[in-house]
């Protein structure tokens, strides 16, 4: 049995597997299937200052080896999250990363300030949601804006601050360095890639929002590449995600430089995916005689 624990920004994870924000709600629906304690952490549904109704349906489309979504940050608002979900999750012996988002810098600050009064373990600042018209990816696709929102939220919280990056940028390393310089304690990446499908019988986009975020196994090689590039550019830890579907994928992303991994679309295919990934990582490490998962982080030997 290998040691699967990792430490990110001083926060101990019993294992490096975390359901990604948006896939897993606040955990309750999956608790019907397995105890949440099995997970290293949970990245909760992106939560804004006020309730958001999200986009019109259809919000989901299948793609080769993946999917598109355009949920549009539907959520009950930060007060509801703190009152009705957070205290419950905090009893579950796993790291809670509260994913937050906002249309303006001020909104992001206000949400972070509310969480400052709670026992949440980490804040994951979403500057990369592709499905909302204001904020979201608008923050994440310019180095100046990414740095500014990071700097302002940094001032508003003493919690470990993880900034979630968009892959829809020209240079992922420039954005990564910008948020590091602005005070991010860690980076999580990659959010979804902007995509589109058209129903050729009707000539209409499949998604009511026309475009949406692409995820699933198809994006995994992009995630590996971007995590590797970012890991070479910054000195803060990276939580990797993007198409992770197996223990082997998780190991690969950690070799690229991730200190932990988030699992998204794979959970739709197999709701037990995070639990299986933990088991498969352990098997792989045992088979290689590697005693701790920490020993594989960033160990890729590039040509």
């Amino acid at each position: 049995m290998a040691d699967l624990s990792v430490n990110i920004c001083g926060v101990d994870f019993k294992n490096p597997v975390i359901p990604a924000s948006g896939v897993f709600g606040y955990g309750r629906e999956y608790e019907e299937l397995f105890p949440l304690e099995k997970l290293g952490g949970i990245a909760t549904k992106g939560t804004t200052l006020h309730r958001r109704t999200g986009n019109l349906a259809p919000r989901i489309a299948e793609t080769p080896s993946g999917m598109l979504n355009s949920v549009g940050l539907q959520n009950p608002g930060i007060d509801h999250f703190i009152e009705s979900e957070l205290s419950y999750l905090l009893t579950k012996n796993l790291v809670v990363l509260a994913n937050i988002a906002g249309s303006t810098v001020e909104e992001c600050i206000a949400v972070a300030e509310k969480l400052e009064q709670t026992d949440v373990h980490m804040i994951e600042l979403n500057i990369s949601c592709p499905n909302v018209k204001q904020g979201g990816a608008a923050f994440g696709t310019s180095c100046e804006m990414a740095a500014e929102v990071t700097r302002q939220v940094r001032k508003a919280t003493t919690k470990p601050l993880v900034v979630k990056l968009s892959p829809n940028v020209t240079s992922i390393t420039d954005i990564a360095k910008a948020v590091e310089d602005a005070g991010a304690d860690a980076i999580s990446m990659i959010n979804t890639l902007l995509g589109m499908r058209i129903d050729i019988n009707t000539g209409r986009p499949v998604l009511r929002n026309n475009v949406g975020g692409m995820s699933g196994p198809a994006v995994f090689p992009i995630a590996v590449r971007m995590v590797w590039q970012a890991a070479n550019a910054v000195n803060i830890p990276i939580i990797g995600m993007g198409g992770v579907s197996s223990g082997r994928d998780a190991i690969e992303l950690m070799m690229a430089g991730a200190s932990a991994v988030q699992v998204g679309a794979a959970i739709f295919t197999d709701p037990f995916a995070p639990v299986k990934i933990i088991g498969e990582m352990n098997e792989f490490l045992d088979s290689k005689g590697i005693s701790s998962v920490k020993d594989i982080i960033g160990t890729v030997k590039p040509w």
């Binding site: 896939v23 999956y30 019907e32 109704t53 986009n55 019109l56 919000r59 299948e62 979504n69 197999d270």
Partner: protein
């Protein structure tokens, strides 16, 4: 809500119409928990998203579940390739089903096309208290006719082209039945325009309960991802409900058409 995920043997596979298949699956724990109107979320090998399919039969004693589905695309085609004796991966039973009230004296069940299968368990429960109206494009698309006949429910089959049964949409016989006498409840599943017309008729005729089963593109199936949004009204406020958890069955008066 109590659901589980597992791989269950297919006991019987039948092609019942063009591109339409019936599977009987041995899954005692799912059958035990299943209610009419709920659905199963089926993994299609090689695809990221599962495919939601409504439940067409529940045999709690034998631990069997029956599903009937149409090949709509590559994912359902992949599921249709499964054979008797093979395992089908299901997350089930999911969703909020139909309200069944044994005190009802007269109910109408309406199925349009591939929306017909979830009406069969209701026909079995309500028996002679039920009238089943089913509608199809043409004779070749008619499904479950014999199954409905085995229940004590009265059946009316409509086709768009008149090639089988009555040459009309389902709403014509519905309107007649509603004019003829008191109806406690109308249950329906099928294409959106059909459901919308049924809901309007029921409202117009003051039917006590009109429940409709909706469909939407879906990811998790259990209410976590918020993918399958549906515009509804709750306490006079617009609310995006989710077909997988709040539905698939909704009170027609809640839905914003």
């Amino acid at each position: 809500m109590k659901y589980t995920q597992g791989k269950y043997p297919i006991m019987q596979k039948k092609a019942i119409a063009n591109n339409t298949y019936s599977f009987v699956i041995s899954c005692p724990e799912v059958a035990e928990a299943a209610q009419p109107g709920q659905f199963v979320h089926i993994r299609a090998n090689g695809f990221t998203l599962r495919r939601p399919v409504s439940i067409c039969g529940i045999d709690k004693e034998k631990g069997l579940l029956r599903i009937v589905f149409e090949i709509r695309g590559d994912g359902t085609a992949e599921i249709a390739r499964l054979n008797e004796g093979e395992l089908i991966d299901m997350l089930a039973p999911l969703g909020h089903g139909f309200t069944v009230d044994t005190n009802f004296k007269k109910v109408i069940l309406i199925g349009g096309g591939i929306g017909t299968p979830p009406m069969l368990p209701l026909a079995q429960i309500y028996g002679e208290k039920a009238t089943v109206i089913t509608g199809f494009r043409s004779a070749g698309a008619v499904i479950l006719n014999e199954d409905f006949k085995k229940t004590d429910a009265e059946t009316i089959i409509c086709t768009d082209d008149g090639s089988f049964g009555v040459h009309s949409f389902v709403t014509a016989p519905l309107e007649k039945l509603l004019n003829d006498g008191a109806v406690d409840a109308v249950y329906a599943c099928g294409p959106m325009p059909m459901l919308k017309n049924i809901a309007a008729l029921c409202k117009d005729k003051n039917v006590g309960l009109c429940e409709i089963s909706l469909e939407e593109r879906m990811a998790c199936g259990i209410g976590a991802c918020l993918g399958c949004a549906c515009r509804t009204k709750r306490n006079d406020e617009e609310y995006f409900a989710h077909v997988c958890k709040d539905g698939p069955v909704f009170n027609a008066e809640e839905v914003i058409w």
